[in-house]
Symmetry: C2
Subunit: 225 residues, 2 copies
């Protein structure tokens, strides 16, 4: 076989925030190598995949039963020595999900599928720990200049929910008055006529994110550093 042929896989880093914790979706491997280690869902790119994103999407459905998610290319890992079986180049994708309503189901190739808090990851297959560290870092930047946070929330959410997402992702607490002011004046939130009732205390107003209003925002100023 000519040496320029290599194996290419796509792996997906699916993140979600649950109870104020940033979590990532992992599957438990049933076969060697790294049998019974946890790993990112993913697999080989096939000729039938029209695009790399299609391949990632197909693997995500097969291995976790999650479909119809927003995927964004993260990085391509291609150092030698990543896989004991030989050179494998992996294109990593980022997915941002709301956990509620998902029905995880492991494929027959896996002995489990589960959300893991980033702070308590199990031993991982291949270089997947490095990949997750990289992805979490990218998400941290991304949430600051893009509306990524809203992909981690249901359509209707409270300002507290939104703040919790930011705090989980960036790993710091934020002043709630400044946070609310910022978002209420940003023009990307629509105040709904509904409240959420979570306990025996004051109900919180619900908001939704307005994609159209976000697009209308002027470009940010030059020279941010």
């Amino acid at each position: 076989m000519p040496s320029e042929f290599v194996k290419v896989t796509v792996d997906t880093l699916a993140f979600a925030v649950q109870q104020g914790e940033l979590e990532v979706l992992l599957v438990k491997r049933k076969h060697e190598p790294f049998k019974s280690f946890w790993a990112l869902p993913g697999g080989f790119v096939l000729d039938s995949d029209k695009s790399l994103e299609d391949a990632a999407s197909r693997e995500l459905v097969e291995e976790t039963n999650i479909s119809n998610v927003y995927l964004e290319q993260l990085y391509t890992f291609g150092d030698t020595g990543r896989d004991p079986r030989g050179r494998v180049i992996t294109v990593a994708y980022l997915a941002l999900l709301r956990q509620e309503g998902l029905e995880l189901r492991a494929s027959t190739d896996a002995s489990g599928v589960a959300w893991w808090p980033l702070k308590e990851l199990p031993p991982l297959a291949f270089d997947h720990e490095k990949m997750i560290t990289y992805g979490a870092q990218r998400l941290k930047y991304k949430i600051e200049y893009s509306p990524a946070a809203f992909k981690l929330l249901p359509q209707k959410f409270t300002l507290r929910d939104l703040q919790t997402v930011y705090e989980s992702v960036i790993g710091k607490s934020i002043d709630n008055r400044n946070f609310r002011k910022k978002f209420l004046s940003s023009g990307v939130l629509q105040e709904l006529d509904e409240t959420s009732q979570e306990g025996s205390y004051r109900p919180a107003r619900l908001y939704s994110f307005s994609e159209e209003d976000f697009e209308k925002l002027p470009d940010r100023p030059v020279f941010v550093f």
Copy 2:
């Protein structure tokens, strides 16, 4: 051959600013497909390449004689139909260069190597025009929040040089008083005891970029949108 084996190439988008114009480095193809079209320098990843970046670096030397450049991964293109010969996945790299002092030399596989202004690109092979458009956009963002501009300049440069780089990349003119204020107060420039003499007018002070001072800057504030 099992279908999960595919061909992978690395292509490099090498940018430089010359006379206030953002330019990209291209090579003229000697062979089919796209014979005599201009294309990005690049080629197949080999087993002997320890990393994708090594592969990009090796190809850049082979095809243009440029070595020792800073490379950064840009994006991986993998749709079907990119290459008439079959599925090819391409990992694109970004290189930021100063043109001065480079000795371009085409490989025997190419019939030319040259810098082309982004505004006057020739017809390009494969989907390379799309790749260049994407790379230019990324550079535009990148220059705003990172010290990328300094990679496009010699070690010693005038504030006018720096401003020209910014203006070429973002495609807009900038108020020179505000620009100077911004950078002089940013703490990343070191004023040198030298001036540059370019014509029969006032010589301009030279500065250098201080990587260490840049690293010392505090993290930018949260929520930039």
